[in-house]
Amino acid sequence: MATTDESTGSWFGADGQVSQVRGLLFKLSCLGATLLALGLVLVFLLYVFNDAVQPLTADTGWLLTFVVTLVLPAVAVGVYYYTRDTRAGEVAYTALGLPVATTLLAGGVVITFEHIVSPHAWFALALSATVAFGLVELHARTRTAGALERLAVVVLVPLLALVGVPGIAVDFPVETPLLGQELFRLSFAIPELVPSLREVILALPVLPTAAISLLLTFTLPIAAAAAWHVRRVRESDRDGAIAGGATIVAAGLGLVAAPLVDLSATTWVVLATVVALPVGLYVESVVRRDVGVSGLAFPVVVAAGALIGAFLVDALGFAGPDLWLDWDFLTSPASTTPRDAGIYPALVGSVMMLVVVAVAAFPVGVGAAVYLEEYAPNDGLLGSIVDLIEINIANLAGVPSVVYGVLGLTLFVRTAGMQSGIVMVGGLTIGLLILPIVIVSAQEAIRGVPDSLRQASYGMGATKWQTVRNVVLPRALPGIMTGTILAFGRAIGETAPLLMIGAAAVVRIPPDTFFSLFSAMPRQIFAWSKEIETEFRYGVLAAGVVTLLIVMLMMNASAILVRNKYQRQN
């Protein structure tokens, strides 16, 4: 090409300019597209947020106060972390996120003890389970008997402890097939023969108060686990004992101190166990590792700024913004007047539905993934069946959610005869929906376990199941958890299947069993979107959307947290 003197002189020069401009334009348009995609949604979300909290309705003084006490210090500290000490920045991110996330979790636990299992029921359940477990262990230690006797003990003791020998009531019409003519009716009832240990405990004349029950059967085991963990990482029995003891004392303090801060004693116990303990452990681990300790200052700065700001605006008499998203919104039931409307029953409904989803989808999903990765043969007839299953799972992940709704309606309501619109049906339907996602992500995590570990385990004479349980699953667990939490995030936002299975638009009382009618947050949002009043459209609806998004972001953030911790370990 460049043969003449002129062009060799400028081979690196100006004639490349056209292509450089073109390249630059291309690069910029690609960057622009990326930012456009993110920016569009960001702008929308800013509008939503603005409608939900209406910051501009606050006094200027109020805004200024908080800018000075909260925003500026937080930004300053954040800039410091970003430019000077990125490890401290990571610590700051976790140190701020952990209390918020665990508080949300504590909220879920409080709701659970409020609506799903009462503290006394939990107390009885935990106590009888412990007794059963103790007896089984005792049997295993004292009698190294045959497999059959052991099996009998393992099955019967827990059964007696938790269920007892239940009464049986049968009322079953025997019909001729096809014609449906009743021949005779099989009907008898046996009264309960042996009440379970659980029922016996519940029937005791004296039971500890709700808070003490939780202290004994909720805080105590968690404190023991924490003590064991601390003892292990610090290699000191004393430190372990301190950690466990401090947890119990902190929770037990609630029996006395909770009324002073206007909390119920049970709430205090839950908060101390679910929030204070993990935060304490995290702080301990940061200090022990001595990396990015200054990051711990961030939540302190934020909390102090918020408190000082609140104190100042109160003293100076500045009015805050006209919030839609406030405590009342989170704790009130739905209402026809926008100002009174709240999301509480739908929030509880979502939590309960998620419990069903988790119980239904997690074990099955992980089980399927284990089968496909560890057990499934690659060739032969079964091999091609397995191939088919894999293709099928990949495709199921793309089936529209509304179709799952139809499936749930037909399968659980019209075929199994459950009532439509109850928590169980909603949870099972959405469980089916996220099952493929759970399977695929669990498969990826299991595939990431190095083969050398499996070989080592098999070489030791471990059976397949022993290898899976002791080597593969522990190693894959963080990856499985990450994928599963993300899938649960998807589950909590699904709406169309809930419409199909008839989840109620408006529910005033939160569901109290898994077989009650329920509404969920996205279902409630959809219901509000049909209201004509602008206060619903721009106020209540925005608050509901922000609530939903915050819950989702929390779940995503915790998934990312798990993933980061896991990636650093490897």
Partner: protein, 303 residues
């Protein structure tokens, strides 16, 4: 046991191990001169007990192994004596690891692998339908090419085999004894609760050996156990293998002919195509092999 071979011949780089340059150099000078072609380059130890053969504990009769359509082993016949060290040497891809893995049926884990022929362990064909490979592997321990401790504590690593095999009595004592036998106890006694991954490569491999011997198997299979280790760690592992042979039957696959010469009583030479060319006392193989191909291989003309 004494050791007078300088370690440099093992090579620091595990991949470029002794089958290459060092042997070829030394062979070049001995080749032309006399019949005992190897005595200057290989240090075959005088192992008095080696001469008296013990009963075979593992006996292969006409073993063929296929991976899909490809044949990895061709009618191998070999009898591995009890409580001796038997080495399998040969160039890459000659099937020596395949043979090792067919002893404890690790090849079962590969769907495409197929084994034909009889492989007797204690007189029982391990490929009989009624043999449970899990039960088999409980009697035959295995150590792998690169150290692969579980991401668990040192203690739990060694106790793993005891746990999965249901030998739950005296676990503490057995773990300590296994670590001691693997010459690791002194180094890790204070850190049994720490992760096995925190040890150095050589320590990890000895941990894997401790893990393999903790349940007290009868045979110990080692698949190039020193190939990923540095020379010092290699020599420790080699010492260990010689000591283990007092109680266990050791079958070791190695790329490194020096290593085979130093530590084994019997040597099997596999050559390309999955063919067992010669199997005899180590001294015989290295000093006066019958097959010309084995001689070529050992002197570095081939492989």
């Amino acid at each position: 046991m004494t050791r007078d071979t300088p370690l440099e011949t093992d090579g620091g780089d595990p991949r470029a191990d002794g089958s290459g340059t060092a042997v070829a150099d030394s062979a070049a000078q001995t080749d032309s001169s006399d019949e005992s072609l190897l005595d200057s380059s290989f240090d075959v130890e005088d192992r008095s007990h080696a001469s008296e053969d013990t009963d075979a504990i593992v006996e292969a009769r006409d073993i063929d192994v296929y991976y899909g359509d490809e044949q990895a082993l061709q009618s191998v016949d070999v009898a591995i004596p009890e409580k001796r060290v038997t080495a399998m040497i040969g160039p890459s891809g000659c099937g020596k690891s395949t043979f090792l893995r067919s002893i404890n049926r690790m090849n079962d884990l590969i769907d495409a692998a197929r084994v034909e022929g009889e492989l007797l362990f204690d007189g029982k064909n391990v490929y009989d339908d009624d043999v449970d490979p899990v039960a088999l592997r409980r009697k035959i321990g295995m150590v792998f090419q690169s150290p692969n401790p579980f991401p668990k504590s040192i203690y739990d690593n060694v106790a793993y085999g005891l746990e999965v095999q249901g030998k739950t009595d005296d676990v503490d004592e057995k773990v300590h004894r296994a670590l001691e036998r693997a010459a690791l106890l002194d180094e890790v006694e204070d850190q049994l609760d720490e992760s096995g991954l925190e040890l150095s490569g050589g320590q990890q491999q000895r941990l894997c050996i401790a893990r393999a011997i903790a349940p007290d198997p009868e045979v110990l299979l080692m698949d190039e156990p020193a190939s990923a280790l540095d020379p010092v760690a290699t020599s420790k592992v080699e010492d260990l293998i010689e000591e283990l042979a007092e109680d266990y039957t050791v079958v070791i696959v190695t790329h490194n002919m020096q290593q085979a010469a130093r530590i084994s009583d019997k040597t099997a030479v596999f050559l390309t195509g999955g063919e067992l060319v010669e199997f005899d006392d180590t001294a015989k193989i290295f000093e006066n092999p019958e097959s010309q191909r084995v001689e070529d291989y050992i002197t570095g003309k081939f492989g």
